[in-house]
């Protein structure tokens, strides 16, 4: 059989009357899509290489370029999608696992789109956040059952010692993305934004680069199965420590940063030799059961003298509620749960698209389970995985999350156009790449401003929605599922979400 010619996903539509042959696109495209033909003074396109990142479109000074989907159609049907046909063709050629980047993009029900929020009318005045205080301050960490103190001559002396807490000005945290999977400039943008806004960022499993030490006090550091960059200095600098067990995009499997991305700086940060592959095993090889996790939690607490919260991040899987309960009982100060839509720099497509459960259901069942066991105050819940807008965030909080992690949304604020090719290391936007020619395109100060703006915009929107409900503090919405109603959901779905159907009054 003849080799099948692959068909490009996109094509470059160049308006010749606008093109001034400046060749910016030729120089800039990391995928070498644009080629200058000197003889004809023309710019040609190798459409097959185009990933659809729209970088050339954005930088073209005359607006000559439009990236379009390739209209060449195969005879697609409901069962055999174009994507599946071409995946088979690719696999027939290579015999390999198909990789992809970003979160699951398949058509599973998106529960956020089936949940509606409440607002006050007549019986309860709504509150205008522009005129009245509206509080989003959030604390992540273990809360004691009650406050104890002595009162002597009107002076209160506390007996209750509060365990360490993370103090957030908004219930949104930048999720774990490692130095390696994204560039230092991208990470620095998020770090600056988090510090300026009063929230936190997360190192992921790639260690803490020296350049980001000034932002370490607003940083959650990960201890993952590869233990990259973990040493006492790393733990001590951080605001909190997160044991990464799993990730929504690839529950149950490990990670692999190819040696070509392990530059001198990454090698130093991760504490591995330059140009060697950085392999994260699928499990932690010192955690084969819950009591092992408990030992690691307390080893980390001992090492840092119980001065900072230690959390555990897991992927949302079928048994997520009992697992989360076990994690809380093992002493974690928070549980981070990453749903099936959770993003990644690289994952096998078949895993990303088929393993795990939606975060909406996971939040609801975990929150309910912890309350049934009377241990909800023993740990906070951070939800992750595909938060696209402020309404997703507020719905997650009403379902029971203390705060959410955002990753993809944060990267979009830095320029990402969701081309899903993070694993190639050729990100034109300077985000998911280590190529200095590409990373310098992302100015961390501008990036920080944009990421900060995103936090600000979402926070303002959350305040508007809260005020509409007649609530002036986020803690009165947290776990308050009375403010939610489901639309177009089955009885079973409503049951697991713990919400009523639209039309049902209090």
């Amino acid at each position: 059989m003849a080799k099948v010619k692959r068909i490009s996903e996109f094509f470059v539509d160049r308006d010749e009357s606008k093109c001034i042959r400046c060749q910016a696109c030729v120089r800039m495209c990391s995928n070498d899509v644009h080629i200058y033909d000197e003889e004809g003074d023309l710019i040609r396109s190798d459409d097959l290489k185009c990933v659809g990142c729209h970088f050339c479109e954005e930088i073209c000074p005359t607006g000559a370029i439009t990236i379009r989907r390739n209209q060449s159609e195969i005879k697609e049907n409901y069962h055999w999608k174009k994507e599946y046909v071409y995946d088979i063709i690719k696999q027939a050629e290579t015999g390999g696992v198909i990789l992809t980047g970003m979160g699951c993009d398949k058509l599973y029900k998106n529960y956020f789109d089936h949940i509606l929020l409440n607002a006050s009318q007549v019986t309860n005045p709504s509150i205008d956040p522009l005129r009245e205080p509206m509080e989003l301050k959030t604390f992540i960490g273990k809360k004691p059952d009650k406050v104890e103190y002595n009162i002597e001559n009107g002076k209160i002396s506390l007996k209750t010692e509060i365990p360490p807490q993370l103090e957030l000005e908004t219930p949104i945290i930048f999720t774990a993305m490692s130095f390696g999977s994204i560039s230092l400039n991208a990470l620095k943008s998020l770090a600056i934004a988090a510090k300026n806004f009063g929230t936190y960022w997360n190192t992921g499993e790639g260690g803490l680069p020296e350049e980001l030490y000034p932002y370490a006090d607003r940083c959650i550091v990960q201890v993952a199965s590869g233990r990259f960059g973990v040493n006492i200095d790393y733990l001590e600098r951080a605001a909190a420590i997160e044991i990464k067990i799993g990730q929504g995009a690839k529950p149950g499997i490990g990670g692999h940063l190819p040696g070509e991305k392990v530059s001198e700086e990454i090698s130093r940060t991760r504490m591995i030799p330059e140009s060697t592959d950085a392999l994260s095993p699928a499990p932690h090889h010192d955690i084969y059961s819950i009591e092992d996790l408990k030992q690691l939690i307390f080893a980390l607490k001992e090492a840092t003298q119980y001065k900072k919260p230690v959390g555990v991040k897991i992927a949302a899987v079928h048994n997520v509620a009992p697992i989360a309960s076990g994690i809380v009982r093992a002493g974690a100060d928070y549980v981070a749960i990453d749903g099936i839509r959770g993003g990644t720099g690289a994952a096998p497509k078949v895993i990303r698209d088929n393993v795990g459960i939606p975060i909406e259901i996971a939040i609801a069942v975990v929150d309910t389970r912890l309350r049934e066991e009377g241990i909800r105050n023993k740990a906070s819940i951070i939800a992750a995985g595909g938060f696209r807008k402020s309404s997703d965030v507020i719905k997650a909080i009403a379902l029971g999350a203390d705060a959410v992690y955002i990753g993809t949304a944060a990267l979009i604020s830095l320029g990402c156009h969701l081309c899903q090719k993070c694993y190639t290391g050729k990100c034109n936007w300077g985000i998911a790449t280590q190529d200095p020619y590409l990373t310098k395109r992302l100015n961390p100060e501008i990036g920080a401003k944009r990421a900060y703006n995103l936090l600000r915009a979402w926070s303002l929107e959350i305040k508007e929605m809260l005020g509409g409900m007649g609530i002036n503090s986020i803690e009165s919405l947290r776990g308050n599922r009375e403010q939610l109603r489901g639309i177009d959901l089955s009885d079973m779905e409503l049951k697991y979400l713990g919400i009523k159907h639209v039309g049902e009054a209090w």
Partner: protein
Amino acid sequence: MDDRYIKIPSGCGLSGIMSKNGGLFSGEKIIISICNMKERGNGLGSGFASYGIYPEFKNYWCFHIMYNEERAINITENYLKEKFKIIHSEPIPTKKLNTLSFIPLLYRYFLDFKEEFIENGISEEDFIIKVVMFINRNIENSFVFSSGKNMGIFKGVGEPDEIAEFYRIYDYKGYIWVSHNRFPTNTVGWWGGAHPFGILDWSVVHNGEISSYGINRRYLENFGYFCTLFTDTEVITYLFDLLHRKHGHNFEIIGNILASPFWFQIERVEDEDYRKFLKILRIIYGPCLINGPFSIIVANSEYMIGMTDRIKLRPLVYGEDEEFYYISSEEAAIRIVSKEIKKTINAEAGKPVIFKVKWQK
């Protein structure tokens, strides 16, 4: 669906009068006061709570129970006999009124513990709560609406003057009286939905709608309180019981929990220890914050407390004369029963007004 399973947001009128030295006075005063705020109700609910009305049975727990049908009486009484010694029981005395549409069967029981009541060392109060919750959740058509000592709640669907006349409120003498006039935004024929709401010797009358109900209710479940009556007032009652009786907080501190100061106010507190205390209080008791508009009067056998939400979206005034303390939704309801009162004060947002009985020696 049974009316009792509908949570009804409502606007309302509240009035409370406390004798400063614990002297008993007739219910006439409170009837005049609450009836002066008829505008705040719509005839769909009213009620009274009074302390000191059963001096001859003051050491026994008194249950007021309403039955929607005869059958429930036997079942409930058998259950009570199993758990308690019934010292005395009788129908609650009422007066026939043609204007009231549906009237449940109303009984009161004076109960003492059997020797062997203690289950795994739980306290008397926790045992009472358990029994009340069991009856209200599991025995159909039977509802305990008052369960304290030497106090009682009387309530029903009707205008305050009708309910007062029906229960012959003027025949009782108490040292604290609390009353309520209800304006539910939905019709309901269930007498249990009227206020005051009570458990143990707590009684709560409430004007408002609790937007944080969903989380307050779920927080209480963490501590073994199960809200089954679907009235948001229930959570206030349980929060007071949890925070005062179980966690031992005084009412000023409870005020700082239920209507916590804003973060910017906490940051302005100069005393560092107190600032830290307020911060920790808020971190730990965040889910107890009652959000949304409310004014409440809460009473137990010693205290009468008035309070509003932290941005004061519902009215509350208070005042005192020689003999009495007054808390009410409106100044008019105080002035009509106290000609000599000099001034009434508008309660500060979120700050509890606390009155305590000073017993006559």
